[in-house]
Symmetry: C2
Amino acid sequence: MMELTRKGEYAIRGIVYLATQPEDKVCLLSDIASAVEVPATFLAKIFQQFSKIGLVKSYRGTGGGFVLGRSADKITLLEVVEAVEGAIIPNRCVVNPGECSRDISCKVHPVWKRVQEQVRDVLERVTLEDLAGV
Amino acid sequence: MMELTRKGEYAIRGIVYLATQPEDKVCLLSDIASAVEVPATFLAKIFQQFSKIGLVKSYRGTGGGFVLGRSADKITLLEVVEAVEGAIIPNRCVVNPGECSRDISCKVHPVWKRVQEQVRDVLERVTLEDLAGV
DNA sequence: AATAAAAAAGATAAAAATTGTCTTTTTAGA
DNA sequence: TCTAAAAAGACAATTTTTATCTTTTTTATT
């Protein structure tokens, strides 16, 4: 339960690698993929998602590639994880009020809310700088 | 991400319902299932898992059914969830040391460990009595 | 002892999510 | 114009989830 998927694992590996590179260096997807041992086509999809929300900046065409969208200390692990896995929602009824009509759900509701907050809190305190650092 | 499955949701509903019943009342699976609106055959599998680890006691044959294995205040939500969803493992490398050979994983490792602890902590503090109470 | 009620166990299957791959398109530099 | 690279979209294999159905075992009751 609560397991990060491959996609999430790959996403972290890929963007942390980017964070270890010199800030101005434009990295090829193919290089990142082989460095972190992730299928390049799959990582491409992941970086497209990153790009859409500005976590990375992409350059197309010759000499293109990826750089971080912001400095590593301004990107949290929470953002990275949520970018590819979606929001952290331990239970449907946490986000969907109509979902829990029955009494029992309502008692459980605040517990999952607390779980959600705790997890988000932990992930939010960690930045790519922390993960990339020596 | 981190979403409880239907199985987990059903499991909680079912055992919380049992906790709302008089302690000595032997409840039919079919009654529990219809009360909490869960497919009876699916709930049967869930209760078999509960039974194996003593979370519930089962009686077979005529007049059979289920009762809680312990008093409701001695059963935590963590036990219930882990009984059907397995251990709370946010990342493979948290449990499998060989998994994370690469440097980056090792930096991420303690973060997931912390997530795991936080989640377990929240769920462990909640008992079936809390959830069944008025 | 026979019968009926109930859970246990096992086999199977549909649906959904995950984990990819492949091809075509767009963009930009040389 | 040609080539390098990411973007986008279609497709497919695998795994997990979400069940259902049948048979077996156990137990109480008649």
